[in-house]
Subunit: 163 residues, 2 copies
Amino acid sequence: MSEVRWLSDEEQAVWRSYLAATTMLREHIERRLQRDAQMPQTYYEVLVALSEAPDMKLRMSELADASRSSRSKLSHAVNRMERSGWISRDDCDVDRRGSWARLTEKGFAVIHAAAPDHVTTVREALFDVLTPEQVRQLGEISAAIAGNLAGECAKVRAEEGTL
Amino acid sequence: MSEVRWLSDEEQAVWRSYLAATTMLREHIERRLQRDAQMPQTYYEVLVALSEAPDMKLRMSELADASRSSRSKLSHAVNRMERSGWISRDDCDVDRRGSWARLTEKGFAVIHAAAPDHVTTVREALFDVLTPEQVRQLGEISAAIAGNLAGECAKVRAEEGTL
DNA sequence: TCTTACTAGTTGAACGTTCAATTTGTCTTG
DNA sequence: CAAGACAAATTGAACGTTCAACTAGTAAGA
């Protein structure tokens, strides 16, 4: 039981600023995407992952990893997008428990229609307000944070099916 | 109708890294808070805002601003925390439409019990993986992003009651 | 004063996410 | 080739959030 290392005044200020910035940015993008393309950011990421995959299809687990979704969340999301006609589910011959999620032509059209607005939002809200130097810095900072948490997240992912 | 300014390879990489880092960090903190204190991060922020207010009470609208909640979201959240006995609602004499949200003794105890674990989580996942220089950089980057979005968010906030 | 416009806050329904099963199929080892 | 362990994916309930009304009180102008 060691003593808690509280935050210094500067750390406190940075943390609050970080929280404000990331929250506002996320909500801003979410609102725009909802307004322009009638989908949450999560669905956008799922569609992007599929559109970049060979034959525009992935096993559910692969898609879950690619889009940082839990299996359950992805299952619900794919249900929803299947009803919208953006994704279809195909049986997997190799493993009959598994199934493929495939981007339909309609889904392909939807993601391509959504992309320009989305990219513009990201550019205007993020890259346009930072200097090139800051962009580089943000890249390194993000890599450090993500690198440290990757293990933890993998562990959580692994415990999913187990307990 | 001008041409879309797509992201360069470097911007693309930074954006994906940023998305991975912020998503993982948020979910990590959320999981810990849920595990250690049985509350989502949003509720934690509401309790902190109240604990820092004079007499540990704020009008609902002030609390909404302080915790970056929509009025609706806050209303639901306070309902929940009132049932838990962490917050109580007091009538407002000055404006009979309004009401005060006040932190109860139990709520005060809850937030003080939750703080050490939470701060430790934040320190380990954020400050411990960055150099002092990077912490400073992150502060400036966050300020730039938040500063730019503040107007937009205020506008959304204002439209809430109107439409 | 009456009327209209506005503001504070709440509510219920719809949505997306989490959590804890559950189903179905594969792998392993005796 | 059984038997149990494990893996892929889905499901329903509970939760928190959003959205669009809605209630009730205040402010302003005629």
